[in-house]
């Protein structure tokens, strides 16, 4: 009540200076009158009265207080008005539950999806890394002929002795252990690291201590640090394990500490670490590039300076040891950049796509709001003032966006664990994605932004009234006068453009996934099972022991029920393991190596994988160490080594011997290429050696670890056969990584498939939303023009004419939007380049098919309500 009065007094209020002046003048007037009444001379009375008021000083004080008063009133009135607007908006929501539900769900889905993806982006890309000073922690790579790789021990040591621009230079290499203490024997992945590895990352142990320099010496390395997960899983998080002893691969280790989970961000596979303890022989070895190297840059130097120094030392190394390091250089990158890798771009593309879908959702809600405001234009016309109407409309969009934001956070909360579970392995730091403070702040910002986006256009429309009388007059006139259809057509055009971009990206990814799926891998993967086995060096010290054990295992497996073929391989297809060697074809100059992947196989291998033999023969049992040394190469290697010449009978040096005394092996067969790293990776040069012909030293290279391959129809039977066969030979040996090659393929394609799935979901959501938008606009137009349609039909227009006329209202903006979206898609899909397989980002077939799909969906969405219009009975329509 007082509010209403105040609003009125504000409306008719005089300026504060005037108010003060009038009030004081009135006061002086009365004072003079009183003085005169008491008999004072009028002139004297005026002087006395004015002196008392000291008008200038009092007036100034009053003006100041009065101004503050007005400001506080305005604030209060605004808040009060706002409160009323919100109350009104809430009432509107209650009275139109279907509208409210549609708007809130649409916004909720958009905000929820964007929030969930943002939380992933935040965890993977934006969040600071767990290790100390991420800016200064570097990954050092040794680069040979432009391709980055690992470090040899000799090279690592050469750099370690000379580097001055880094505080620490550490190395690690993955290893694995057969963990056999009180529990079941278990295969665990571990790392062998230089003593300063943990110091370099600045991650302290959660229990105990890390290694000291003395322990990083050959023969003193029997100390182990456990990962947090191993400690919890196997040792029940018991801190007293520190100081205890455990058995790994037949040797006894002292547990000196436990590393916190943060270390997973650098080395997520490792469950145990032991010191690397280079032997003098290893330190003198400049071949075999298997170490990962890390550096901590000095505070005062720049990354460019560190890179300069690495390049300088690499040059010195090339000069000192030219045989193996002639074309070798070295460089550093920030580890954080390497860890996040191309996930940064992938995730940002995903975030952008989900953002586009949110925009489409907002456009839909804006459209709904416009339709509802049109229905209320008479009520709006009565409201005074453009600012009031804008505030009223924005209040409604704010209420919708607030509910939408709440729904969105709920959706994100529910979908985030699902997203993490479905995501492929190996996305760094994904597990740490939560709805943290910054993510919630982003959700609030999204909701606010949505409110503005949804509300501003309708608000602007609502204020564009021609005259008050027009709105108050004919209801229909007001509708067409105030709310022009073009604004809604603009919205569906924009939706078409946005959805075209997202849809084109999804279509390209789907095509890539199909291409990848259809890509021949080079052999019949169906029914092939792989498993890995490692023999601990302690029990199987001599190569002969290892040979005998593997031979027994293989014989057992071959004899088992359900196994048609069985073989051993140092590197099974799609299973990581073993290394690369530099091969020298006979006749090539020294140093002209072909980097090639090695397989040490039993003769049955080619029967198991069944990849076509292109020339020559496969291995037989006769290919022993006593027989002539032989090798089988793949087509890629044959081309690289001998061009178009027939490779059979030619010789290649590898694996043994020295630069001065090459060890020649004769090529006896050429087999078809196999995509052993997955369908998307190009075939590499590969060579095969008979397992029983490899030198004794090779058992050390492979870590006495081999893959068992079987082919058969029954996976369960083969799995059981492998386990039983190994157990019969040595019950303390764990068999690990048992899986079919098809599972391996799936795992490799999981990344591509996951991205494709997400983009397809987004595109489908966008398409459905856009279709709903088009549908609602045409339905609204039909409702507007019932009378006109009735007239046309009465005058003889056919149903088809009516459908065409009405759908064109929806299709015209869609076609324009599509054209814009098409151009946008051509620009945007370039970002997908790295994720595409055998399809160009601008692939015309995909883009045109996408546009066609969009057009068909839009036409259907427009035709449906237009078709309803034909049901209008002309006589009823005209009478209305």
């Amino acid at each position: 009540m007082t509010i209403r009065k105040r609003v009125r007094s504000l409306l008719w209020r005089v300026p504060i200076e005037q108010e003060v002046q009038d009030e004081l003048a009135h006061h002086v007037e009365l004072r003079i009158q009183e003085l005169i009444d008491r008999g004072v001379d009028p002139a004297e009375a005026r002087r006395a009265a004015e002196r008392r008021v000291e008008s200038r000083r009092v007036a100034a004080a009053l003006t100041r207080i009065g101004r503050q008063r007005n400001e506080s009133w305005e604030r209060r009135d605004w808040l009060e008005g706002f409160r009323q607007d919100i109350t009104f908006a809430l009432r509107q929501c209650r009275t139109k539950p279907a509208f409210t539900l549609a708007a809130v769900l649409t916004l909720g889905l958009g905000i929820g999806a964007t929030t969930a993806i943002f939380s992933v982006v935040h965890a993977v890309v934006l969040k600071p890394h767990a290790y100390a000073d991420p800016d200064r922690v570097l990954l050092a790579t040794s680069i040979w002929r432009g391709s980055p790789g690992g470090w040899s021990v000799g090279n690592f040591d050469y750099f370690r002795q000379r580097l001055t621009s880094v505080e620490q230079f550490a190395a690690s290499t993955p290893t694995s252990f057969n963990l056999a203490d009180d529990g079941d024997p278990e295969r665990i992945i571990g790392s062998r690291v230089t003593w300063n590895y943990f110091t370099l990352f600045g991650i302290p142990p959660s229990h105990g201590r890390t290694f000291n320099q003395d322990e990083d010496q050959p023969g003193r390395t029997h100390v182990v640090l456990l990962s947090d997960s191993l400690w919890r899983r196997r040792y029940g998080a018991n801190p007293s394990i520190v100081g205890a002893q455990i058995h790994m691969s037949g040797e006894i280790y002292d547990v000196i500490g436990v590393m916190p989970p943060e270390i997973d961000q650098i080395d997520d596979a490792a469950q145990a670490w032991i010191p690397i303890g280079f032997t003098p022989a290893q330190l003198a070895l400049y071949d075999e590039f298997y170490l990962d190297a890390y550096a901590r840059q000095r505070q005062e130097v720049s990354l460019a300076q560190v890179n300069d120094e690495f390049a300088r030392i690499a040059q010195a190394l090339s000069a000192d040891h030219p045989d193996l390091n002639r074309e070798r250089s070295a460089g550093v990158e920030q580890l954080s950049t390497v860890l996040v890798g191309d996930y940064r771009l992938r995730l940002l593309i995903l975030l952008a796509s989900v953002g586009l879908v949110l925009l489409i959702a907002c456009a839909n809600v804006a459209n709904l709001l416009l339709a509802r405001l049109a229905a209320r234009s008479r009520e709006l016309a009565i409201r005074a003032g453009r600012a009031r109407i804008v505030r009223q409309v924005l209040s409604e969009s704010l209420v919708l966006a607030t509910f939408g934001g709440i729904a969105g956070i709920a959706i994100a909360w529910w979908s985030l664990p699902l997203l993490i579970r479905l995501a492929p392995d190996g996305v760094p730091r994904l597990g740490s994605a939560t709805l943290s403070g910054p993510v919630l702040a982003a959700a609030v910002a999204l909701a606010t932004g949505s409110a503005l986006f949804v509300g501003l256009l309708p608000a602007w429309q609502a204020t564009r009234r021609t005259t008050l009388t027009e709105d108050l007059g004919d209801g229909k006139g007001a509708l067409s006068g105030t709310f022009k259809p073009w604004i809604r057509q603009l919205l569906i055009g924009a939706q078409a453009a946005l959805v075209m971009v997202v849809l084109a990206g999804a279509a390209l990814l789907i095509r890539s996934a199909i291409n990848m799926q259809q890509q021949p891998i080079g052999f019949d993967t169906h029914g092939v099972l792989t498993a890995r086995l490692s023999l601990p060096a302690a029990q199987y010290a001599s190569p002969e022991q290892a040979r005998v054990a593997y031979r027994s295992v293989l014989e057992n497996v071959q004899a088992a029920h359900g196994v048609r073929f069985a073989a051993l391989d140092s590197r099974a297809p799609l299973v990581s393991g073993a290394g690369s060697n530099g091969l020298l074809a006979e006749g090539r100059p020294m140093g002209d190596f072909i980097l090639s992947e090695s397989h040490f196989v039993t003769p049955g291998f080619f029967a198991v994988v069944n990849n076509p033999l292109r020339a020559g023969r496969t291995f037989t049992e006769a290919d022993t160490r006593q027989a002539p040394l032989v090798m089988i190469i793949n087509e890629t290697l044959a081309r690289a080594a001998f061009g178009t010449e027939n490779p059979i009978g030619k010789r290649i040096a590898c694996c043994e011997g020295s630069p001065g005394q090459p060890n020649w092996k004769t090529v006896v067969g050429v087999v078809a290429d196999v995509k052993s790293r997955g369908p998307a990776e190009p075939s590499r040069p590969e060579f095969y050696l008979p397992l029983m012909q490899i030198p004794d030293a090779a058992w050390t290279w492979t870590g006495r670890s081999l893959a068992i391959l079987t082919r058969g129809d029954d996976v369960a039977a083969m799995t059981a056969a492998i386990r039983a066969s190994v157990k019969a030979v040595d019950s303390s040996l764990p068999v690990f990584a048992i899986r079919t090659v098809d599972e391996g393929l799936n795992r490799i394609m999981a990344q591509a498939r996951f991205n494709t799935l997400l983009m397809s979901l987004l595109a489908a959501t966008g398409l459905v939303l856009a279709a709903l938008g088009i549908y609602s606009v045409i339905a609204w137009l039909v409702a507007q023009r019932t009378r006109e349609i009735g007239v046309r039909m009465a005058l003889g227009a056919s149903k088809r004419d009516v459908v065409r006329m009405m759908s064109l209202h929806g299709l015209k903006p869609v076609v324009i939007g599509l054209t814009v979206g098409f151009i946008g898609a051509i620009g945007a899909t370039r970002l997908l380049q790295n994720q595409l397989f055998e399809v160009e980002p601008r692939d015309p077939i995909t883009l045109i098919a996408t546009a066609a799909l969009l057009l068909v969906v839009a036409a259907a969405a427009a035709a449906l309500p237009a078709w309803r219009a034909t049901a209008i009975d002309p006589s009823t329509a005209l009478r209305e």
Binding site: E23, H26, H27, V53, E54, I65, S72
Partner: protein
């Protein structure tokens, strides 16, 4: 009450004005005259104190003002108590009773000792 007693005397003028207006709407001059008469000692109320006090109380929402016509037939600003003003008057009056009783007790005691 928290301003007790430092700002107490300052608040006394406010209380007197609020008390004055319990009789109905009045303009500034009449309020001043009424206080002068009611205190019955020709307590000369400075305009430099009265009007700022009125404006301040209007800002706080204790008073409402409206333009009306005075007894001389001139446009004048009339002040009236609001609900908040009435509450303020009640609480200040009670506080004043406590305060003046306390001061009285102290003065009486000082004389005796």
């Amino acid at each position: 009450m928290s301003r007790y007693p430092a700002d107490f005397l300052h608040g006394t003028l406010d209380t007197l004005i609020l008390k004055t207006l319990t009789g109905g709407p009045m303009h500034g001059y009449a309020i001043g005259r009424w206080i002068e008469e009611a205190t019955n000692c020709g307590l000369e109320l400075e305009e430099g104190s009265l009007y700022p006090a009125l404006y301040r109380m209007e800002k706080r929402g204790w008073l409402d003002a409206e333009w009306g016509t005075s007894e001389l037939g001139r446009r004048a600003k009339f002040y009236r108590l609001t609900r908040a003003g009435r509450q303020q008057l009640a609480s200040h009056t009670a506080a004043w009773a406590v305060f003046s009783a306390a001061v009285n007790r102290a003065l009486v005691k000082a004389v005796q000792s």
